[in-house]
Symmetry: C2
Subunit: 255 residues, 2 copies
């Protein structure tokens, strides 16, 4: 499995990804799932990948070849984020079909999903989710984040915190907490954790970092969040009748 | 979908369940998924149900018939929690097979899952998860909770808070927070929220309550948890380099 999350706020984009891949529990490896393309003065793209590693590597290799050869349909020339997403979706479908056709094995699943983020010239920065079928959706003002992979454990904190008006640094912190919750509940998601902040209008490298498992900051974030959540929990108002348990047992409401 | 959670701590058992059922978005209804059987002075059982509503209703109806007729293999006579789980598992498999055999339709999924909790005589109270196949697992000291239905959104808070030594009232609060997080992120889970605290050694009705959507306490819990999580989030230490964004953009680590 994998967990990648991207957030689009008014002032720019935030990305975070884990690095664990596995084909069964005895084939666990570490691969980066964050791929950055800073293509000159007016365009940058970030691709986060989940799913079959052979497929995602094949797609990324082709993206890089097309960039190197300045192919007409490659990322150097895409007119907008939607065109770039269509291009990657088509590469993904082609890569999946190439291998699926030679296999009758039902357990072989070459599917892959991508989050594409970027900004081109005067256009607003944006993020899109590219499905295994090659189609895609954009984040919206109401839902300013996208996730791929093991998405559910880390979703509640995003739902509570992130809005379009959230500052870039808070959006990153929320992505990191979301990642931490996912790592805690799923063995299929693990460090290093990569993150990138790309402010709107900045086409060169943004703030990138990679946190190893024993990274001092990651350890401190984990400890601090655990303690803060515990305090948040302890400060909740108690449920009706709960004070009487287990000293006296009372029945409330219908039988 | 559905969300049910049960926690077994040293001093007793806690159960919580939502009440939303749906077959497609235009067939949403409200059904209780918490079924309590207080069978005299030395045994009680709670059954939480998820999955196909026809199957779970069929199983529950048979459990009640067997109780009414004091059937030899029914809950009145089960020698232990394991035997009771085997009995319910067998009823579930029989109910699924009854309807599956008459349908070739692959989209017809009669599967159901159950959490069975209870205490019999001098035995310790316990909880088990009964799978659609009829087999089951018990909660353990390391994992003192069980979930069925839409389990992932509400799992991180359980992983952080619940241990065997957690007091009953804190275990219930944790189950309610877990329920709230799930409701917020999934439209397939909804109120009324039922809960039950059953202290060890109490065979009569425990502390039962049902919270409607606009229940004063549920609204206050939701508001309070949202505010407390927000405060917990705001107090986190910032990620390295994050203070410089977006004023100046620095590149940290590898390209």
């Amino acid at each position: 499995m994998t967990y990648c999350v991207a957030v689009a706020v008014d002032t720019g984009l935030v990305f975070a990804s884990d690095s664990r891949t596995h084909a069964g529990v005895d084939q666990i490896s570490t691969y980066s799932k964050m791929h950055r393309f800073h293509l000159g003065r007016d365009r940058f793209f970030v691709v986060l990948s989940a799913g079959n590693l052979a497929t995602t590597q094949g797609v990324l290799a082709q993206i890089q070849r097309d960039i190197d050869q300045s192919a007409r349909h490659g990322l150097n020339h895409a007119e907008g984020l939607g065109r770039a997403a269509e291009y990657i979706g088509a590469l993904s479908v082609a890569e999946q079909n190439k291998h699926q056709q030679s296999r009758q094995d039902k357990d072989f699943i070459p599917e892959a999903s991508f989050i594409l983020g970027g900004q081109i010239g005067e256009g607003a920065p944006g993020i899109v989710h590219i499905y295994p079928e090659g189609n895609f959706v954009r984040a919206s003002a109401a839902t300013p984040y996208l996730q791929i992979g093991e998405v559910k454990y880390g979703r509640p904190i995003l739902d509570r915190i992130v809005e379009r008006s959230t500052p870039l640094n808070a959006a990153l912190m929320c992505a990191l907490v979301s990642m931490d919750s996912t790592m805690r509940s799923s063995a299929a998601v693990g460090p290093p954790i990569e993150y990138l902040i790309q402010p709107a209008g900045v086409f060169g490298p943004g703030l990138y970092n990679s946190l190893a498992e024993d990274d001092e900051y990651l350890v401190e974030l984990r400890r601090s969040w655990a303690a803060n959540v515990r305090a948040a929990f302890d400060a909740l108002p108690e449920a009706p009748g709960i004070g009487e348990v287990p000293a006296t047992v009372t029945r409330i409401g219908a039988p």
